[in-house]
């Protein structure tokens, strides 16, 4: 008797909700032992991880604020990943959005133009798209692998941001420190919720999620993206060109990542700094897959990931080293990804059928 996986025709609803719970229970048990083994109160640590972040209004607002970049980028990535287009460089596209949006904010600094923040967001989305267009163009025109080009462009974007905040965009009154001015009020994202940092950009999340859901499930192009991933010849037969799909997925993700970058600098950060993102562009790749490349799933996964990122900080305040926090997060991610198998497959215990030979 051996366990064998059989593809489910319909994802099981029980497994859909049960699988993450199993993963969570496994990780909680692991965490209990881990935290106890380094001499910390395991219950306090687990509380700090999973409860403390969400048991106050401010905490909740921060969860939403942290999940926003992950969800927006994850939504874009999910579309491309369905079509087997591997944009690994959303982090770079985010940085370019921060640079583009930030440049507008600084160019209009002190001008008092109402609604500057809208221009900041739009510019960010466009510069993010432009950065994403490079790997798309190189893929289509020169057949250059998009994984490599989009990845390399992250490093270039990082250095470009560094160059700008050390040079042309440096705060003239900032004693030479590598940072821009603080953006003026009209360039900053208006707050959605007083006393928190949650800004109006959050309203774009439901719009983007529903929009992408509609696109994937109700449009021909969306259908082709889905088919394109599962069966490229079929997509070609349906008359949708591969270059079209590549352009669409890169520009979509680049636009969303750029928007995120602009909203980070015009929102919680409030200026350009050499470091803008703690790796949202990478984490969003995991978010996309944890969410099974579906809009609702991505949104949920983004909030789950935001929770454990926040929890990772909280436990440090209890004296848990960051290395332990990172180890715990790694195990949780692996368990969550692994548990997904239960959703898509049934486990059948059987003697392996001999192939007719």
């Amino acid at each position: 008797m051996l366990p064998r996986l059989v593809l489910r025709l319909q994802p099981s609803a029980l497994a859909l909700y049960g699988a993450p719970v199993i993963a969570l229970i496994f990780t909680l048990a692991f965490g209990y032992v881990l935290f106890a083994s380094i001499g910390r109160d395991p219950l306090a640590a687990l509380h700090a991880y999973f409860i403390a972040p969400v048991n106050s209004t401010f905490g909740l607002s921060e969860l939403l604020l942290t999940a926003l970049p992950l969800a927006l980028i994850g939504l874009g990535l999910a579309v491309g990943f369905r079509a087997n287009i591997w944009n690994i460089g959303a982090e770079g596209q985010l940085l370019l959005g921060a640079i583009g949006g930030g440049s507008v904010a600084l160019a209009l600094w002190g001008e008092g133009v109402p609604g500057t923040f809208i221009l900041v967001c739009l510019t960010g989305a466009i510069t993010g798209m432009a950065w994403a267009a490079i790997p798309a163009f190189l893929r289509i025109r020169f057949n250059a692998n998009e994984i490599l080009t989009s990845l390399m462009l992250i490093y270039v974007a990082d250095q470009l941001l560094g160059y700008l905040v050390h040079g042309p965009l440096k705060n003239p009154q900032g004693f030479g420190f590598p940072e821009s001015r603080l953006f003026s009020a009209e360039a900053q994202m208006p707050l959605l919720w007083d006393g928190t940092r949650l800004h109006v950009g959050w309203l774009l999340l439901p719009v983007a999620a529903v929009g992408i859901w509609l696109f994937l499930s109700h449009t021909l192009a969306g259908f082709r993206m889905r088919v394109g991933g599962d069966a490229e010849p079929a997509a070609a037969y349906a008359g949708f060109s591969r270059p079209g799909m590549i352009w669409l997925s890169f520009l979509l993700t680049g636009g969303l990542a750029g928007l995120v970058g602009a909203m980070e600098v015009a929102g919680p950060v409030g200026q350009l700094l050499p470091t803008i993102s703690p790796g949202y562009g990478f984490a969003a790749i995991i978010v996309a897959f944890l969410g099974r490349l579906t809009p609702l799933g991505v949104v949920l996964a983004a909030h789950l990931l935001a929770l454990i990122l926040i929890g990772g900080e909280n436990v440090q305040m209890l004296g848990v080293p960051s290395s332990v926090a990172q180890l715990f997060q790694g195990v949780l991610l692996v368990a969550l990804l692994a548990s997904d198998v239960l959703v898509r497959f049934r486990v059948v215990w059987s003697t392996p059928a001999r192939r007719a030979a």
Binding site: F142, N143, M152, L160, Y163, I286, G330, V334
Partner: protein, 307 residues
């Protein structure tokens, strides 16, 4: 520049390239078998910390590299399980491995942080070291640098000249056909992934035992990602991995020398150079679409679901 400086640049480029070559050769085999493992950075870190621990406690660097290889391979089994058993997407699995490896290495590494050891020294070959240029190169490079080149030759030979290589490529090219032919797709991929982990582990150990004999959390500083990029850059050809790593190393080292000689260009712009050159060269070699398609494993990145 005088000749000795060129030799110095060559040596530095080779040393910079060695951990990249080791890790990239491993990843090349993994990808030839049809899997992309983005977790190289995590496996290098685990290799770095175990290699350092063994090197420090035993002083035996051969053992250090072996243990680092085993540690990298063990961690890679997490990826193998996720991808081959749990049917997780390869990119997500690899990224998780990077995070897990970072955590595991930092956790294990606490006792070794801040310790010093004498690293593996260059191997002095009597007679050879007295030769001009070549002698200088030999007297300032270590055995691992040359072993990495030997590994490249070995990988190339195994891939093209042996039955094992043929099976590996068959599995990577079309796993359904390979399965139908009776090859164990999972078995082959498990071995390939373990090899990839072992090579990444040794790449990490090169950093912690040879290049900078110390252990600090996160000391690989992104080299695992460069290794992944090199495989694509090399269009899955072992010799090109070496050329790519040398090119990358040479550009990095030459901009440092340029600055030391008074080149006053923003260091940010200079730091972009290796990445821009990599993209440029990739574009140039990718233009011949057919050749790329022939080199790229057909099943790369696709999940294998045995019927």
């Amino acid at each position: 520049m005088e000749e000795s400086l060129w030799v110095a640049i060559l040596i530095a480029a080779m040393r910079t390239a060695t951990p990249l070559i080791l890790a990239a050769l491993g990843e090349l085999i993994v990808e030839k078998a049809g899997c992309v493992n983005l977790g190289v950075e995590g496996m290098m870190l685990v290799g770095a910390v175990t290699g350092f621990a063994v090197g420090l406690t035993t002083g035996n660097f051969a053992l250090a590299f072996v243990v680092a290889a085993v540690a990298g391979a063990v961690l890679s089994m997490v990826y193998a399980a996720l991808v081959l058993i749990f049917q997780v997407n390869q990119y997500a699995a690899g990224l998780s491995l990077t995070i897990l490896g970072g955590g595991v290495s930092a956790f294990w590494g606490q006792p070794w942080q801040g310790q010093n050891m004498t690293g593996l020294q260059p191997t002095v070959i009597p007679g050879l070291s007295d030769l001009p240029v070549i002698g200088t190169v030999f007297s300032r490079t270590d055995i691992v640098t040359w072993a990495a080149l030997a590994a490249c030759v070995a990988v190339a030979l195994v891939l093209t000249r042996t039955r094992a290589g043929l099976i590996l490529r068959a599995v990577g090219e079309n796993h359904d056909s390979a399965h139908a032919l009776g090859y164990s797709v999972r078995g082959v991929r498990t071995l390939a992934i373990a090899f990839g982990g072992a090579m990444a582990g040794m790449g990490g150990a090169y950093l912690s035992c040879v290049m900078t004999p110390l252990w600090i959390e996160g000391m690989t500083a992104g080299r695992g990602w460069i290794a992944v990029a090199l495989v694509v850059f090399a269009t899955w050809k072992p010799a090109r991995v070496v050329l790519g790593a040398w090119l990358f190393g040479a550009v990095s080292v030459m901009q440092i020398h340029g600055q030391a000689m008074g080149l006053a260009v923003s260091s940010h712009i200079l730091a972009m150079l290796p990445y821009l050159v990599t993209i440029l060269v990739l574009v140039l070699i990718s233009r011949d679409a057919t050749r790329i398609r022939l080199a790229a494993p057909g099943s790369l990145g696709k999940p294998f679901k045995p019927a």
